[in-house]
């Protein structure tokens, strides 16, 4: 008797249905993961534990796999260079002739540039600290363009750091583990980089789409971009420093403007990670909020909190009585001991403090807002000199 004729023959339909049920459950899990994905954000929490774990495990594997391949590649380069020496020599002679003409132009431009910088007082960007890393894995598909670099938080790398090859910008860091970090390439579909067109000084956004040449979005037609225009990072938004080389404008198959990346000129095996602090995002409101503040001091409108006989009070007592403060208004005044000259009257009016020298019509001190919010205090907690309204 075959199995098909036996009791197992009835299991066929349930198995198909159970497979379908398993399929639905797995799809729901996958869909939930996709909805919760935040890989393009540069926040540390977005790079989850699973990604960290895979990166950490993959890094040594990649190092081992890459080494023999790189040696072979270096050997092939050597042989190719030897075989192509004659044509290379011819090409270099041509380039040298062109460079000689450019050298004079460059020298003149350099002098002019120095003069203009001196005139305008432009400061050059400070040199940025960086670390050099080796890329060990590379994904090149249409839906993900990333690389794994073999340095991590142990070298000070953080999310958002720009990554360059010797030719130009490659991308930015989106995930960091102890010894390895994930680089989101400019060609990734979720990469958007503010750039600057050198010739016209126009701004645009470089958007990856998984192909080799990312698109230039938001280019105004008035800028009239041309093939061969140089593209640099604009520094807008603070993610990248201004002026990093990106590439050259080319016309895409779709008729739109695209950028041939400088970093495509050679294999990206070694990269430079700039330890660049994004000043646009440095402000942490929680960290900046004052923590240990003294209790805000207030007073009853009709009663001073300053004991009679203090030096400051005495100074006020000896002041010119010609001043006319508004009766019934609170007088809460900021003043360092000794900051108010003898003979001066300090008057608070609707949250604005004025120190009046006593000379008719002369207002000496700056206006200082002393209105205190609950839980906060005026700038100088030590100052608690108050002058009661003197009729």
């Amino acid at each position: 008797m075959s199995l098909r004729d036996g009791p197992f023959g009835d299991i066929r339909v349930p198995l198909t249905w159970s497979a379908a049920a398993a399929l639905v459950i797995a799809a729901i899990i996958a869909g939930a993961l996709l909805l919760g994905d935040r890989r393009e954000t540069m926040k540390a929490g977005a790079y989850d534990t699973a990604r960290h774990a895979v990166d950490v495990v993959a890094a040594p594997v990649g190092g081992v796999l890459s080494a023999p391949v790189r040696w072979t590649h270096d050997g092939l380069d050597f042989v190719r260079g030897y075989l192509g020496a004659v044509s290379e020599n011819r090409k270099l002679k041509t380039e040298l002739a062109q460079e000689s003409a450019l050298r004079d132009t460059l020298a003149a431009t350099e002098i002019e540039n120095q003069r203009l910088r001196a005139v305008l007082g432009i400061r050059t960007d400070p040199p940025l600290p960086h670390v050099v890393a080796e890329t060990i894995f590379d994904s090149r598909g249409p839906f993900a363009n990333t690389r794994l670099a073999n340095v991590g938080s142990d070298h000070g790398v953080t999310e958002g750091d720009p990554v360059l090859s010797e030719h130009g910008l490659v991308g930015r860091i989106v995930g960091v583990s102890d010894h390895v970090s994930r680089v989101l390439l400019l060609t990734d579909a979720e990469s958007h980089t503010p750039v600057l067109l050198v010739r016209t000084n126009g701004r645009a956004i470089l958007s990856g789409d998984g192909g080799g040449t990312p698109k230039l979005d938001y280019v105004r037609s008035a800028l009239n971009p041309k093939e061969g225009d140089r593209v640099l990072t604009s520094g807008d938004g603070g993610v990248f420093p201004r002026g990093l080389p990106v590439g050259t404008i080319v016309r895409g198959f779709d008729g739109g403007w695209r950028v041939q990346l400088d970093s495509d000129a050679a294999p990206i095996d070694f990269v430079q990670i700039l330890l660049f602090t994004d000043f646009a995002q440095i402000a942490n409101e929680q960290a900046l909020a004052p923590k240990d503040l003294p209790t805000a001091m207030t007073e009853e409108p009709s009663q001073s909190i300053v004991a009679p006989g203090t030096p400051a009070t005495n100074a006020v007592k000896g002041a010119d009585a010609a001043a006319k403060p508004a009766a019934g208004k609170t007088a809460a005044i900021l003043a360092k001991p000794g900051a108010v000259k003898p003979g001066a009257i300090v008057v608070a009016k609707a949250g604005v403090a004025k120190a009046i020298t006593g000379k008719p019509g002369a207002v000496a001190a700056t206006k200082t807002n002393v209105k205190a919010k609950p839980g906060t205090t005026p700038a100088k907690p030590a100052a608690k000199h108050a002058a009661p309204a003197t009729p």
Partner: protein, 174 residues
């Protein structure tokens, strides 16, 4: 069903028809992710688990392949650095497509099988394209999608080998 297929059939153990092919596809994916260029060209980046999704749905319906594909897809996402959940959904879509029409595909000629495999890949890549467009807010490059589709299409012999090896292992689904 070919005579060679019957002769090459193996008993259906989870390790044999799910575990080893999964390990092979992970290993091949890792090796092809090495960042080298040969004569200016990068290595291809086919989606090996798509061949498994096609083959597993034809071999027999089971509870295990969807979850195995879920894990393989998650591996692709974290290893390639893509949006998490993208490739699991694409793999499961391919599996569901083949599972729903497996009676029509099973036992067909090589060309028909290959065309079916190509159609299955098209479903998976179309879903991936749509999901990526929705996730990133921009349409991925069709040329890049086409290259990955072609590279994956060439993996059909791998899927065919797996089908011939295990399609007769469970007589209920002959």
């Amino acid at each position: 069903m070919t005579a060679r297929g019957v002769g090459a059939a193996r008993p259906l153990s989870p390790l044999g028809w799910l575990g080893i092919p999964s390990a092979l596809s992970i290993g091949a994916t890792v090796i092809l992710a090495i960042p080298i260029r040969i004569f200016g060209l990068s290595l291809p980046e086919p989606v090996f688990p798509l061949a498994l999704a096609f083959a597993w749905a034809l071999i027999r319906p089971s509870v295990l392949p969807p979850f195995t594909l879920l894990m393989l897809g998650l591996f692709l996402d974290v290893f390639w650095g893509g949006p998490q959940g993208l490739w699991p959904l694409c793999l499961l879509a391919a599996y569901a497509t083949v599972l729903s029409v497996r009676r029509l595909i099973t036992g067909q000629d090589l060309i028909v099988m290959w065309a079916s495999y190509g159609a299955t890949l098209a479903v998976a890549f179309a879903l991936g394209y749509g999901l990526m467009t929705a996730d990133a807010g921009a349409m991925p490059n069709l040329v890049a999608v086409g290259w990955q589709y072609l590279a994956t299409l060439l993996l059909f012999p791998f899927a065919r080998w797996l089908i011939e090896r295990y399609e007769d292992a469970d007589v209920r689904f002959r």
